[in-house]
């Protein structure tokens, strides 16, 4: 059974902004599913609808067997969410957050204490338990936020841009947490606009652009869409004889011609297969970094 079933989902905000249009997909249990798209593409809107925080205007979404609008209460029993740019209270410790959230979610005090310790140890937070979150690094703060989401053993966790603003080490810490969750059988829906993140984590991904889903499939399938996004570097063998040429052939005939020329001129020919970023740009028609530039 699919953990998430989305059929023709659409959202137009009360002001008239169309954020999502006719989106359909399914996510099976235990998958890390990435929603990839530039800022404002509709990723967060989609995630918030699935997490029962926002009403859709058209279509239907079923999460863990329950309709997100009419059976929101039943969905909420089994999910957790780490909202985009969520941050802990600076004047409380990581322990305070996780312990109090366990109590709020109905755990008796002794169990909440045990659970807090177990989660903090599992995510290497225990040694920082008494530090105010104001004194923690960005990566540790984000780990606290994800740990909060795990106080109730969710079957499905929503992570909205969980590594935004983190340094490379912080990002890797979050990635390892996501992998650990997936190993435990938790389904993860994650939004990101970082290509490397999607490439490293996603079982499958959906690319969302201007509220529409322009791709659904594996990372490899996405790359295959940009088959002719391949780059060929032609450079001198011994480091002399001019600058390397970077070529972007658009057909098999062009590739063959470049190789033949390289052999004839005694130059090294290196192929760079298309990246997810190439595929993304090919599909959405512009680089993420170009937005707003």
């Amino acid at each position: 059974m699919a953990v998430i079933e989305v059929d023709g989902l659409g959202k137009t905000y009360p002001g008239g902004t169309k954020a999502l249009h006719d989106v359909s997909f399914q996510v099976p249990k235990g998958e890390v599913f990435c929603l990839l798209g530039r800022n404002g593409a509709g990723k967060t809107t989609l995630l918030r609808i699935l997490a029962t925080q926002l009403r859709p205007t058209t279509g239907r979404a079923v999460v863990l067997g329950h309709d997100v609008v009419h059976e929101a209460k039943l969905v909420r029993e089994k999910i957790s969410v780490v909202p985009q740019e969520a941050r802990p209270q600076m004047m409380l410790s990581g322990y305070d957050h996780i312990y109090l959230m366990s109590l709020i979610r109905g755990m008796p005090r002794p169990e909440a204490r045990k659970r807090t310790r177990a989660i903090m140890e599992e995510f290497d937070l225990w040694e920082h338990k008494d530090k105010l979150t104001a004194d923690l690094s960005g990566g540790l703060r984000q780990r606290v936020m994800i740990a909060i989401a795990l106080t109730m053993d969710p079957e499905l966790i929503f992570l909205d841009e969980p590594t935004i603003g983190l340094d490379p080490l912080g990002r890797r810490q979050v990635w390892s947490m996501v992998r650990r969750l997936a190993k435990q059988g938790v389904t993860v829906l994650l939004t990101t606009h970082y290509m490397d993140e999607a490439e490293k984590l996603a079982g499958r991904l959906a690319i969302v652009d201007r509220g529409q889903m322009v791709f659904l499939g594996s990372v490899e399938a996405a790359k295959a869409r940009a088959a002719h996004g391949m780059q060929v570097v032609v450079e001198p063998m011994n480091g002399n004889g001019g600058e390397p040429e970077v070529l972007s052939p658009t057909s098999d005939t062009e590739i063959l011609a470049i190789v033949q020329r390289g052999i004839q001129e005694g130059r090294r020919v290196t192929f760079k297969p298309p990246t997810l970023e190439d595929a993304f740009i090919a599909m959405v028609g512009g680089g993420i970094d170009d937005e707003g530039a």
Binding site: Q53, Q84, M91, L100, L103, R105, G106
Partner: protein
Amino acid sequence: MMRAREAVYIGLFDSLPLLRDPMLLILLSLIAFLPVLFIFAFGVGGGALLASVVGAIVLSLAFAGIGSAQSVYFNKHWFRFQDIFVASRVSPISYALGLSVSTLLVSLPALVIAFAVLMLDTPMGVLGLLALLAVAGLTWMAMLLMGFALGASTKNTRRANSLPQLLGLLLGFLPPVYYPLSQLPPALQPLALALPTTNAAQLAKYYAGLIPLTPLEFWFGWAYLVGFVAAMVVIASRMAHWMDP
């Protein structure tokens, strides 16, 4: 029972940073007592001193109630804990109650002191005390609901901090809360009576035996407070959403 537990822990979660900082808590409590200290220092008559203690109660409740605007705004847009709670078993009622409890926890020291002073220095009986508590409760609810409506409709982080403070000041300090209504020019008195804090202060001073009220003034005060709270319930419930539209 489970919902009450949720509310208490949400309240604790929201107020814990302040409760862990007693110095800040005392400073916040002192703000309401500053006029009392001035009146005491300048030796104005005993009646004025007790009236200013009533003012301290009203101001504390005004600031505590309207302070909910900051909790509502920051939990929704800054920390995003509201979104975390929405996607969980927590009920919207528990959440709203929790944030409300949080405002009371923070204003409790000032209120306990002020009530203790009034109990010791005025001939207020048990019924008078209960009536005074009811007035205090309505004042707090009126300001609290105003805070919820304000916090839910605020879109700007800077305003989320300044607007509640400004409103607290306008409703708590400027009207005849610390000083008698009769001190205002007659033309301004009806204007002052259009504010919930003036009516609350008038009723509180009456129950503390500090001023007389005509039956019309008495019933107007109660009707105004109850009506204001009812209106605020409607406005706040329309503006504050659990699941966004």
